[in-house]
């Protein structure tokens, strides 16, 4: 049995991942997986966490020394941060402060749960961090770039390169089939054959037989799995998930979450998960709790 709380540094030496994210960035398609085994940080309490048995100790002692160091650097690299992030909205009764001077840093590969009561500002924080909205004050840095001063065109470009989304209400395009929905990020990037990757991802979420089904013809769980496949189709650096199980029953929600963590692990994506589900939050590396727009 692995220990309940493990240092990432320790786990880096004891868990394996067959798709290192930096490799993933450069390869053409997931249909040509990397054959290299790279040590990688385990996810706390993830049922899918793979424990390396250590059958080939040499792997860590000799050939992987440099890569291990790279991984450590990667893990320490901040991919998302916020400084004094504030969101104020005007109302008839005066300004309402939704977020009040949030400071945070999220490292590459980290999974962070944002929890809090309704109205605490979770979704607003996600919107600001994901460059969907602009703050009233403060700064957000995503993948090394300050997004708060960017125009909408540059932010869209950044989202296309680095950000994936999974929403509570799935947000699939109703006029598109499951396959077409998953192809969309590739199409927007101008990829010549986005269908191949989309089919691969649909197979990864267990929907290989549902390519031509429209969202209306799919169950809630299936729709969310299509949304998962679409989120990973853009090969994101950071995946933002907003209450991904909010519209699903417990069993279905659990299955979707398992897939989410599987893929997150597989693609070595940084995860920012907004949820009010404590059990789900506990599966993340870190939990950030918001109360009345402040981190506690």
């Amino acid at each position: 049995m692995p220990p309940e709380v493990v240092s990432p540094l320790t786990l880096a030496l004891t868990t394996c991942q067959d798709n290192f994210c930096s490799v993933n960035f450069f390869r053409r398609s997931s249909t040509q997986p990397s054959s290299r085994w790279i040590p990688y940080a385990a996810l706390i309490l993830s049922p899918k966490t793979k424990i390396f048995e250590g059958s080939d100790p040499e792997l860590f002692e000799t050939g992987s020394k440099i890569e291990s160091q790279n991984n450590k650097d990667f893990m320490n690299r901040v991919v998302l941060s916020a400084e004094k992030l504030t969101k104020v909205v005007p109302s008839n009764d005066g300004d309402i402060v939704i977020l009040d001077g949030i400071d945070l840093e999220i490292n590459a590969g980290e999974s962070v749960a944002v929890v809090g009561a309704s109205g605490s500002g979770k979704t607003t924080l996600l919107g600001l961090l994901a460059s969907l909205d602009s703050p009233s004050r403060g700064k957000v840095f995503l993948a090394g770039e300050e997004i708060t001063n960017m125009d909408e065109e540059s932010r869209a470009d950044l989202r296309g390169k680095h950000v994936g989304f999974v929403f509570q209400s799935f947000q699939l395009l109703s006029s598109l089939t499951a396959l077409e929905n998953v192809m969309l990020p590739g199409e927007l990037k101008g990829e010549s054959n986005p269908a191949e990757e989309a089919k691969f991802l649909l197979a990864r979420v267990g929907l290989e037989n549902r390519h031509n089904h429209y969202p209306k013809q799919l169950s809630g769980g299936e729709q969310q799995r299509v949304a998962l496949a679409r989120a990973f189709a853009s090969k994101p650096t950071i995946l933002f998930a907003d209450e991904p199980t909010g519209n699903l029953d417990t069993v279905t929600g659990q299955k979707v979450i398992d897939r989410l963590f599987d893929l997150n692990e597989e693609f070595a994506t940084t995860l920012v998960l907004v949820t009010h589900d404590d059990r789900l939050a506990l599966r993340c590396d870190r939990i950030i709790e918001l109360i009345a727009g402040r981190i506690v």
Partner: protein, 829 residues
């Protein structure tokens, strides 16, 4: 994103039905304008051709002096067809008899428009002539045969020449050119004219050069020739005021019809585009989260719209062309219509209309898409950063103004139409809101379906007001067109009743009046008054010779009557029927002073007014007469009309003959022989063929108007459908919720029926008010008719609105009742 992806998007939206209504609206817009344009173009050309028959040409130059050779050379240089006619009154002699005839000598090519009809025996059915009288031959009016006791092959003498009678002239296209082209017709070849020796210096002869060809070339010739006052350039409008007025009104109506079609079609395009774009807000927000930037969104949707617009315009052109073919085929089965081939203009009109509609009504909402925030994916009620509304309105109005100006070629008319339309919409908006409030108060007292329906209307107050305006406008336009059509047709019927006098008898001596009256009373149904008539002309104005007066005044407007021309003069004690005094006073009974009354246009052209002193030469006698009043005449009536009427004392001493008019049915035509046999000095002018021709034109204009009305109705229905579709989504959501909480289908159906019924009723009330105001304005300002109220509109409008919207609303929202509440609610989340 490449073209293939955009095409795929179009395919998906098409399959999903998202684009259907927008494409349909654009197709209808283009098809309506194209088919109306094609019909108007072809009917217009047919009407012009038909009307040109009245001149036997497209234009003609008329003078009492010979037409200079250079005129003909210039016309031929411009590739215009030319023919000459020379007309004069002369005596024709046979061994035992003689008769005053109206001689027309014609050159080859006559008539350039219309057909000369001839027969081999008097009063026989005519056939089109393929040739003209050969040299040494004359063709005579049927009436001359019994008068002169002639048969085909006999010889007649005109002046110094003898001719063989070849055929009977049944009708000639330009016979109606002048009501007082006296005497029965004798047609001869122009090459025979010199040998008759009747044309001498000082002879009263009318020379005409007939011209036919392209409008541009004709206009060029007119400018090149720059005719002096002794030559008159004539087109059908001037030579036949009745036809001219009918054409002008028809053109106005068809023009207004096309404009309304465009307005309605644009409304449909605007509504459908707005709905399409609204339904894509979430799509755009999702695509933005996936990395699509504003420019990419605009590129994608603009490309999509260009493809959709091109496709729609193509289909619209095909549909418009097909539709107009179907209608013309239908017309062929109803009346004998020979339509010329259309020009390219209507197709161009359709293409530009489609493009302008797309640019003005599809582009602005698409541009809004770039501002859709991706935050919508996590916060659905995130405010839309749209352009200020007035920008869209100004842009839309600007584009509409461009189309209106293009169609009407009249900035003032287009501007006023647009301003009037905007004021109407503002007024409708106020009215609609008031009606909705009243409806809500009443609805609170009613049962659940009523409460549900009226609460729904009130909840969507702006949407409902907008729909009332749209429905109201569409119904109003239909009512306006129907009212105008009825008004125009009735007016024409009044002016051209089936028993309109179709014969004029002239040269009736005072002693013949009682005998002629008796004969006419026995054989005809309608006999008019007897008007005294004498020929005379103005020779001086206020002590100045008429030549000097005319030269100081400059040339009269194209085709206008000339002061110095010899005219038929009459005298009357009471103001003739249909005449209205516009200045001065009609003289009292028994007035001894020498007074004269002038026709309004005649007085205006010659610069004459009440109080001026005119000197007339009547039969060599000078008469000085003061202008007592100026009259307005109804030239479109077939009654005898006079430019100049004297007070009874003025012509008392002079020998006058009389003129009367009567209606003779075609089967009683031989009565003319009896009349002319008994009273040989009388001349009868037959205008029945002119009236028949007029009635054919009016029939065609009426058909054109009805076809336009049909197209407008289609465009109106499209606008109504688009408007219903625009609010369908919110209705589906609302009623799904009601069903989800236990509302029965029957309740939903009833509520929908009430909602649409009430909307239709309110729209009908609004339409009735608008239609009455608009028609009154158009009657007075455009069609020169009297304004009148139409009682039936006040009940028919609301009932029509109620039934129309109810039926279409229920048909268009079947899915509101049939949609699964779960599916709808799931989509909503």
């Amino acid at each position: 994103m490449n073209l293939r992806t955009v095409l795929r998007m179009i395919g998906r939206d098409w399959k999903g039905g998202e684009l259907l209504l927008l494409v349909a609206a654009l197709v209808i817009a283009v098809a309506t304008v194209t088919s109306v344009g094609l019909l108007v173009d072809r009917l217009g050309q047919a009407l012009i051709e038909e009307s040109a028959d009245f001149l036997a040409a497209d234009r003609r130059i008329t003078s009492s002096s010979p037409i200079p050779e250079v005129y003909q050379t210039e016309a031929q240089r411009l590739s215009l067809a030319v023919a000459e006619t020379t007309s004069f009154v002369s005596m024709v002699h046979t061994p035992g008899s003689s008769q005053l005839v109206s001689v027309k000598a014609v050159s080859s090519g006559y008539p350039l428009r219309g057909a000369l009809r001839i027969a081999n025996a008097p009063f026989a059915e005519g056939r089109p002539a393929n040739d003209l009288p050969a040299a040494g031959e004359v063709w005579l009016d049927g009436r001359l045969f019994p008068i002169l006791g002639l048969s085909i092959g006999d010889q007649v003498e005109i002046g110094a020449a003898v001719f063989r009678v070849g055929r009977v002239v049944v009708s000639e296209p330009d016979r109606g050119g002048s009501m007082y082209d006296l005497g029965p017709r004798l047609l001869m070849n122009i090459s025979d004219l010199p040998k008759t020796e009747v044309v001498q210096p000082g002879s009263r002869i009318t020379y005409r050069l007939l011209l036919a060809g392209e409008q541009d070339d004709l206009e060029k010739l007119r400018i090149i020739l720059n005719l002096d006052s002794s030559y008159r350039w004539e087109s059908v409008r001037e030579s036949s005021p009745t036809i001219g007025a009918a054409l002008e009104r028809a053109e106005s109506f068809l023009l207004i019809g096309s404009l309304l079609a465009v307005v309605l079609a644009s409304l449909s395009v605007a509504l459908s585009a707005s709905r399409y774009v609204r339904r894509h807000y979430d799509h755009v927000a999702i695509m933005k989260t996936l990395g699509a930037g504003p420019n990419q969104i605009i590129y994608m949707y603009s490309l999509l719209m260009i493809i959709v617009a091109t496709f729609s315009i193509g289909v619209g052109l095909l549909l418009g062309g097909g539709l107009h073919l179907i209608i013309t085929n239908f017309l062929k089965s109803v009346v004998v219509v020979t339509l010329p081939l259309p020009t390219m203009a209507p197709l161009f009109l359709g293409i530009v209309t489609g493009l302008v509609c797309a640019l003005s009504f599809v582009l602005p909402p698409i541009l809004d898409l770039r501002k859709i925030s991706p935050t919508r994916v996590i916060q659905r009620d995130f405010p839309l950063a749209q352009r200020p509304r007035y920008v869209g309105y100004v842009w839309g109005l600007g584009c509409m103004l461009f189309l209106l100006v293009w169609y009407t070629d009249n900035l003032a008319l287009a501007g006023w139409t647009l301003l009037g339309g905007s004021i109407t919409i503002g007024f409708f908006s106020l009215l609609a809101k008031t009606l909705l409030k009243v409806g809500r108060v009443a609805g609170m007292q009613a049962g659940s379906s009523w409460r549900l329906a009226l609460a729904g209307l009130q909840r969507r107050a702006s949407e409902s007001s907008f729909q009332i305006i749209v429905f109201g406008l569409a119904i109003m336009l239909l009512l306006v067109l129907y009212l105008l059509r009825t008004e125009l047709l009735e007016q024409w019927q009044r002016e051209m009743p089936s028993d309109a006098h179709n014969h004029y008898a002239l040269n009736i001596s005072p002693g013949q009046i009682s005998g002629v009256t008796e004969m006419l009373a026995e054989e005809t149904d309608e006999v008019g008054s007897f008007y005294p008539m004498i020929r005379g002309r103005v020779v001086g104005v206020n002590g100045v010779s008429v030549e000097q007066w005319e030269s100081e005044r400059g040339p009269t407007p194209e085709g206008g009557p000339r002061l110095s021309s010899e005219r038929n003069l009459t005298h009357a004690e009471i103001l003739p029927e249909g005449n209205i005094i516009v200045s001065g006073d009609w003289w009292a009974k028994g007035e001894e002073k020498l007074l004269v009354s002038l026709e309004e246009q005649y007085a205006k052209n010659e610069g004459l007014q009440v109080g001026d002193l005119l000197e007339f030469d009547v039969g060599g006698m000078s008469i000085f007469s003061e202008v007592a009043n100026v009259r307005r005449l109804d030239w479109q009536s077939m009654r005898p009309n006079f430019f100049i009427i004297f007070s009874p004392s003025a012509l008392k001493q002079l020998p006058t003959t009389f003129l009367t008019s009567f209606y003779l049915s075609p089967e009683k035509k031989k009565f003319l022989n009896d009349l002319l046999g008994q009273y040989r000095t009388i001349t009868v002018i037959e205008v029945d063929s002119i009236i028949r021709q007029l009635q054919i034109i009016i029939d065609r204009v009426s058909l054109a108007i009805e076809v336009v009305l049909l197209m407008i109705i289609m465009a109106g229905i499209m606008a109504l459908l688009a408007s219903i579709q625009a609010s369908k989504d919110s209705r589906i959501r609302e009623h799904s919720l009601i069903r989800a909480v236990g509302g029965r289908t029957r309740l939903i159906r009833l509520a929908l029926a009430i909602e649409f019924g009430v909307l239709g009723l309110f729209a009908g009330i609004v339409a009735a008010i608008g239609a009455e105001l608009t028609v009154a304005m158009l009657q007075v300002n455009i069609f020169n008719l009297d304004a009148s109220l139409h009682g039936w509109v006040w009940w028919f409008g609301p009932i029509l609105g109620c039934l129309l919207i109810l039926t279409m609303g229920l048909l268009a929202t079947r899915s509101v009742v049939s949609s699964s509440p779960l599916g709808v609610l799931r989509d909503t989340n």
